[in-house]
Amino acid sequence: MTDESVSDQTDVSDDATVAETAPLARVSGKALVDLPSDLYIPPDALAVFLEAFEGPLDLLLYLIRRQNMNILDIDVSEITRQYMDYIGAVEAIRFELAAEYLVMAATLAEIKSRMLLPRQVLDEDDEVDPRAELIRRLQQYERFKKAAEDIDQLPRVERDTFIGGAGLPVLPSRQSSPDVDLRELLLALQGVLQRADLFTSHHVEREKLSTRERMSAILATLNNDQFVKFESLFTVEEGRLGVVVTFLATLELVKEQLIEIVQAEVLGAIHIRSRASN
């Protein structure tokens, strides 16, 4: 229902306001609201005149409105005559004329000639009636021309309204750390390994990571030069697997010369001490 009221406004029958409110162009400051009705148009004005239109459809709409015609009821002969007059005037002064204007001239000429032919020609014709097609295009163009005018009327920022803001108080500084996906980490490692392979071929062994983890843990426990009882590295709660891991880690630490193992007497207590230090 709302559409109806809108289409009433766009109806060409009450067109006069359009020409008044929207000057065609400005020639040295003066609004050019209507075009000279005789066909003598000074060359300057003609250039401005053409610039004022958004193309042949726009020019046609203007001509139709000036004649107070309904789009659906165009007097093709009259409109074609006027259109050709303008095109002719422009060409006479040898302005470069956009191809679209000439194509439209041809279309109008075709429609006019068809209408002069006997009716059966129209009847046997299965393709789209060129006049209906023209009307469809005019209607289509006009609704978007209207839509553009509507958009221009919408209240807009910087013209009809302004965004509100206020000064800031003293803000605490905030820092947050990047997120890392575990897969990203693994991909990085893969890259290193591939590069490392260029230099050494057996850097990668099958090794339980828990062993290396335990190596770090043991080193962290031996944080001074004191000897520590070997048994104290083991906890019952970890069970058999934990014992094995700790044992392997100890062996690896010895191999890497990171700890030393001391047994003062046969079958006596075993002590370990970090060879590394903190």
């Binding site: 129209l122 978007f144 839509a147 920022v157 302004f162 206020a166």
Partner: protein
């Protein structure tokens, strides 16, 4: 949540909107609160309503646009406020506005399709300006020879024109069906042949509906 709490949320939301100086969505606003204090969406809606009311009779208002809520100067005071800024608001050419209208109402649309309707070429300048203003963006390419870009409008476009969604655009005028037009013309031509003159009396019942 009790009254005091609601007012506390309202003050923080108000402070944040004024500090941001750009539209903020409900969820963005909720994210400002720590998890334990984070108001439910329903609470936030209530708060926004209260905030809107609190602007009654003031020089500014709370408005919801596409990307969220923002405070803005009431339109009636724009004439005074605009004096703060030396630059006059930009005017846009008809060609640009028509192109923008076609993208807004017919998205996604290619440049060729815009040209078909407007009947003239669309200058690259216009497309560039629209893209630079971030009013339109390319949303894909049509699967036809040349794979032309398809354009659509953005949230920034809606924000700029004070719209919350495309639905709020002024409605497009109706268009008559092509077959119907064909039949009308048949009738008119018939009449023209019979009377051998264009008939003016018909104008009224041919008015668009």
């Amino acid at each position: 949540m009790n009254e005091e709490n609601l007012r506390w949320v309202q003050r923080i939301v108000e402070a944040a909107l004024l500090a941001a100086g750009k539209p903020m969505g409900l969820d963005q606003l909720r994210d400002l609160f720590d998890e334990g204090d984070r108001p439910a969406r329903q609470v936030m809606e209530h708060v926004m309503f209260q905030l809107e009311k609190s602007c009654e009779g003031r020089g500014f208002e709370l408005v919801r646009v596409a990307s969220g809520y923002r405070f803005q100067v009431r339109q009636e005071y724009a004439p005074w406020v605009s004096k703060l800024f030396e630059e006059k608001p930009q005017r846009y050419s008809r060609a640009l506005l028509e192109t923008l209208a076609l993208i807004a109402y017919r998205q996604p649309i290619t440049r060729g399709e815009i040209e078909d309707i407007r009947g003239v070429a669309v200058s690259s300048n216009i497309v560039r300006t629209l893209l630079e203003r971030e009013w339109v963006r390319v949303v894909g390419h049509r699967d036809v020879p040349g794979r032309p870009a398809m354009y659509a409008t953005t949230k920034q476009f809606l924000d700029y024109f004070n719209l919350a969604s495309l639905d709020q655009l002024p409605p497009l005028s109706e268009i008559r069906d092509l077959d119907e037009i064909g039949r009308e013309i048949e009738k008119t031509i018939q009449a023209e042949i019979e009377f051998e003159s264009p008939s003016d009396e018909q104008t009224d019942d041919q008015t668009l509906h």
